[in-house]
Symmetry: C2
Subunit: 315 residues, 2 copies
DNA sequence: CTGTTAGCGCCTTCAC
DNA sequence: GTGAAGGCGCTAACAG
């Protein structure tokens, strides 16, 4: 008996003690059968790589522990079909879902929202969320503002010929960052940036390859904005190999603000995104939503980002 | 009805079809109450940081999906008490546990082994495993051989004054790597390395701090072996700041072989450990153990590592 | 304040 | 070949 029935405090004490000694724990499966609550939160990630996801998981885990929930993690679901299967598997095992799916399109989203689960999306751009369906919340970084600030910073330093390496194709964050770049460029009269944009993704290898392409274009840009910090590391490596001095001959910027960005040579100017925070909040709010409110509250929340200027850009 | 009862295949078909249409799935909680199997595997990590853990999680997740199990992840349990609590919580929710606890001492291990669970330890050094207790397996990197090969490599290049930055204090992998270093040094007559060893851990900050200390000692060492690749990144940063050329004036080595180690300036000589593989195997073998064998098989397995020579050491 | 009972969702056993 | 019943571990609601 937990607290409900009226039992002599004496007897309850002895029972609790016995339970302690024997290491007894109520069977979670039986509990969840009764309460219709499992005490778990599912986390659906597109993939896991690098410091960004490590930080994210730390935030998720910390919040889960604070709220006494366990974490069921599943990754590698960039394909809609696998994604669906993973959701299916999670469905009845957890009380709510945290989903990061930057590559999710609107059709896919509609299918997800059919399930009457509590969901918190992170770093996911959804256009049409039907407000009545269920309990949904969206938490995003301000990718647009970050990229805009970064571009603006370079422009203020006198750069005009700024190359841009795009992130993973088809992802919402990629689109948002590029939009920030384009808008800032348009602000100084450069409305066609097509010759300055280069395909990439969020890896060092992509940055390395894109940089090699960029340095061979004429006229050569004076700055490279990489898709993120890892991409920038690849850029730096390529420039170093080609004997191009950073920042004297070429400025380089990143995105995310991972720890390693402090330790590149030279240290990287970048945008710090609140990775740990978004993870923590995603779980924390989801769990509170589970307890307190019912269905039907859809909210968008954009987390601020911070420009970090290090010595990699020309003064 | 799944396959057991004898039912007309016609009727079965129609039922299966209906299930598909309605999106019906048997309630996992009820199943686990019946079968005494949850279909989940618990993962207990000391913490999550950087590319190493991202790779590890990829391996774990891939194996979990291949074996149709879900992953319950819990981290931040360097304290025995929290660790115990996490195990308790996992206990009945999963069929087996993968535990990485390099800092676990033998007493702590005994307590863990009391629980009659199936466990696979990774990167964890246990001395006294009672073979009869339950189903246990231990998977480790060959940390000793890796550090030994690295030291040997430096020695063959003519280095004698080799500084060593130790990993996280109290961890088994730290001890093993240091042992490899000491043994190799003793092999060339340097049996007292106390003046050459510097406290550190597995972070860039630790490498940065330790390197500053090392370069101010006299006589100055000609090589620095960092605890791991992240630590080495901090070393490189400090050396660069002090104007010390790598590798001409100082050789630097790492450990782990993370992707970023290719993109340091210069690229890092390091030891490649099979991070993804250890994760995959841990789950894969655990699940197979669950199905096929009973209790009582304890095995140690050491995974080979590979020396990767890049341009950071003097020729 | 205590003891009993019904039932959460499912599957296996046993009678029909 | 089919239907009904029992029970996995637990707790809420009830009767004593």
């Amino acid at each position: 008996m937990n607290d409900t029935s009226s039992v002599s405090s004496e007897k309850r004490h002895s029972v609790l003690e016995a339970a302690e000694t024997l290491g007894y724990t109520p069977n979670p499966a039986a509990l969840s059968l009764l309460n219709k609550r499992t005490g778990g939160v599912g986390v659906l990630l597109p993939y896991v790589s690098g410091e960004f996801f490590a930080d994210l998981l730390n935030g998720l885990d910390e919040a889960a522990q604070d709220n006494e929930h366990f974490l069921v993690v599943s990754t590698s679901h960039r394909k809609p079909k696998e994604f669906r299967a993973a959701m299916q598997a999670m469905q009845k095992r957890v009380d709510g879902l945290v989903i990061m799916a930057p590559e999710l399109d609107d059709d896919g989203a509609q299918t997800i929202l059919k399930s009457e689960d509590h969901i918190t999306f992170i770093n996911t751009y959804l256009d049409h969320i039907p407000a009545e369906e269920n309990s949904v919340e969206v938490l995003n970084f301000d990718n647009y503002a970050g990229a805009h600030a970064l571009t603006q910073h370079l422009i203020e330093l006198g750069h005009q010929h700024i190359a841009y390496i795009t992130g993973a194709p088809g992802a919402g964050d990629t689109r948002e960052r590029r939009r920030g770049y384009r808008t800032a460029m348009a602000g100084v009269g450069i409305s066609d940036t097509s010759a300055l944009e280069f395909d990439g993704d969020y890896t060092q290898a992509a940055g390395y390859a894109a940089a090699q392409e960029i340095i061979s274009t004429t006229p050569r840009p004076s700055a490279i904005m990489a898709a993120n910090d890892y991409c920038a590391m690849g850029v730096i490596s390529a420039l170093h190999e080609a004997g191009i001095a950073i920042p004297e001959e070429m400025a380089v910027t990143g995105f995310d603000g991972i720890t390693s960005a402090q330790y590149t040579l030279p240290p990287l100017t970048t945008v710090q995104v609140p990775t740990h925070t978004i993870g923590y909040q995603a779980i924390d709010r989801l769990v509170h939503r589970l307890d307190e409110y019912g269905e039907g509250d859809v909210r968008h929340q954009v987390l601020p980002v911070e420009l970090i200027v290090r010595e990699s850009t020309v003064p």
